[in-house]
């Protein structure tokens, strides 16, 4: 795999170990910008581990991760992130605008005040996620779908070019799922990249032009139609999964 490549997030021979056991083995692929990229695989396949590796939270045993010719790890200003489970305090006294503003902390640091640009970034992130009208509402008063959009706006507010979303659609109804995906799709058109961990293959087929299939090692990466084939899914999930018809999801 070549190293630096513009318009791609390049994973070059990435191996990540937990207590000396590899959770992700020698993964190499180039994820194209300007589209939603699905990261798919069974539970324990190393999807969240791979995201943690890209974020720089876990050391790479081998390999490197390159974005536009630069090592990406340890540069929080380039990467936005939304975690798998709700980590936020359920009834924390905070308004929506303040939650979204947290997304700028990676840029402005702990002490510098917000400039006009920072405030514009926060406003734009809220507009992108369609939550500008909720700016003064208390975060804990919002529905699950609205809260998820607020957290996505927080991830966008940092101005990151790469957005890593770990199961961002969990707990959302069909309308909210469609709304979130439409907004993310519009956001990536500017040449950005969204890497989503997803389990619903129907959603992957409908919304993500590019898919990475992972089971500790890379099963396949490429255009979704060529990756989500019965043979590849059988390798990834086991024969029974494909025979059960879930592969056509």
């Amino acid at each position: 795999m070549s190293g630096a490549h513009h318009d791609h997030l390049v994973l070059d021979d990435v191996t990540i170990c937990y207590r000396r056991r590899p959770a992700v083995h020698h993964v190499s692929c180039a994820l194209p910008c300007g589209s939603l990229v699905a990261l798919v695989g069974p539970n324990g396949a190393g999807k969240s581990t791979l995201l943690a590796g890209i974020l720089g939270w876990l050391p790479l045993t081998t390999g490197r991760i390159v974005w536009n010719g630069h090592e990406l790890r340890g540069r929080p200003q380039f990467v936005g992130w939304l975690g798998q489970r709700r980590q936020q305090h359920g009834s924390f006294p905070i308004d929506v605008a303040s939650v979204v503003a947290m997304g700028r902390y990676g840029q402005v640091g702990w002490w510098r005040g917000f400039t006009a640009d920072d405030r514009t970034a926060v406003t734009q992130a809220m507009a992108t996620m369609g939550i500008a009208h909720l700016a003064d509402r208390a975060f804990h008063e919002l529905s699950g779908g609205e809260q998820q959009r607020v957290l996505l706006a927080r991830a966008l507010a940092g101005g990151a070019e790469v957005l890593l979303l770990d199961e961002p659609l969990t707990g959302l109804d069909a309308v909210a799922v469609r709304d979130v995906l439409e907004r993310l799709q519009a956001w990536v058109r500017g040449g950005r990249l969204v890497l989503l961990v997803l389990h619903d293959l129907a959603i992957v087929r409908a919304w993500c032009p590019y898919t990475v299939l992972l089971r500790r090692e890379l099963i396949a990466a490429g255009p979704t139609a060529t990756v989500l084939t019965e043979a590849q899914l059988a390798r990834c999930y086991g024969r029974r999964f494909v025979e059960g018809g879930a592969a056509h999801g």
């Binding site: 980590q87 305090h89 006294p93 905070i94 303040s98 702990w110």
Partner: protein, 295 residues
């Protein structure tokens, strides 16, 4: 009447007590907000118990001087904060279990040491405190700790906010949740050690939890909650001390009772208190009734 009201203010020891009550109330109220939202309020209580072995050993080794006892308590508290914080992060023990395991052990060891070292009067002094016996040294010590707490809050407002609201996102921003967490625990220890003389170990929990709970029931913004908890802590504790003078009641319990009275009134009449809930429920019932009538 006015003379009676202001009589306590003519005594220097009451003024010293009021200053300490105000400073401690602000510091404890602010820290209490973090403990409340991180569901760690009982930790403040547990820390009190964990300080006992430090006080006992300092008494045995350094004698009954206040400085030595503060030093012993501070070392015991900091060690406990460090070990319990690490226990939680490096083992699978949940935080409350890590604290409980450590503190109950410390309390048992502390009681054994204290029984060997102190007279019952000394022991009672550190368990329940006596704010009116405070010296100017106590005032300066309390001022230094309260200022440090407020200054630290201003300097690290953002990481502290993230740690309380969403610790994983703090990590995503390049922060260190463990470091921030330990910082909060150290602030708790420093404040409790400072409060030894004035408040004692047993009632210290009230200073942390009551103003924070009262502010939590009234505020929708984190910054207003911190401000309100600090103000309630300072004002209610001072009022409690003055009330204890007028009524000739013990000062420590009176200050905690005053903090409790504010908390109870917020529980009933606060923005998120019982009255607001009852009103909201009645409003919902009225609305659904109107809808049924229309259909």
């Amino acid at each position: 009447m006015a003379e009676e009201l202001f009589a306590p203010l003519t005594h220097p020891f009451v003024l010293r007590g009021l200053l300490i009550a105000w400073l401690l109330g602000v510091a404890c109220g602010v820290i209490g907000c973090f403990l409340l939202l991180r569901r760690l309020v009982l930790i403040a209580d547990s820390f009190g118990h964990a300080l006992l072995p430090g006080i006992g050993l300092a008494y045995l080794w350094l004698g009954p001087g206040h400085s030595g006892l503060y030093l012993g308590a501070a070392i015991a508290g900091l060690l406990t904060a460090l070990i319990s914080g690490l226990l939680q992060h490096v083992t699978r023990l949940p935080e409350d279990a890590a604290f409980a395991a450590l503190f109950v052990l410390c309390f048992a060891v502390g009681l054994i040491i204290l029984q060997q070292a102190m007279t019952p009067t000394d022991l009672l002094h550190y368990l329940f405190g006596d704010i009116l016996a405070s010296t100017m040294d106590d005032v300066w010590r309390t001022w230094a700790v309260a200022s440090a707490v407020v200054l630290a809050l201003c300097l690290w407002y953002r990481p502290l906010l993230l740690e309380a609201f969403d610790a994983t996102f703090l990590r995503a921003c390049g922060g260190r949740p463990l470091l921030v967490h330990l910082g909060v625990l150290f602030a708790v220890v420093a404040t409790i050690v400072t409060a030894l003389q004035a408040v004692g170990l047993v009632l210290a929990l009230g200073w942390f939890v009551l103003p924070a709970a009262a502010a939590y029931l009234c505020c929708d913004r984190w910054s207003s909650m911190l401000l309100m908890a600090g103000l309630i802590g300072g004002m209610a504790a001072s009022a409690g001390l003055l009330a204890s003078w007028w009524l000739d009641w013990p000062s420590g319990p009176c200050m905690v009772a005053a903090l409790g009275a504010v908390c109870l009134s917020c529980m009933v009449g606060g923005r998120h208190g019982l009255r607001a809930r009852w009103r909201s429920a009645r409003h919902d019932a009225d609305e659904s009734g109107t809808r049924c009538e229309r259909t």
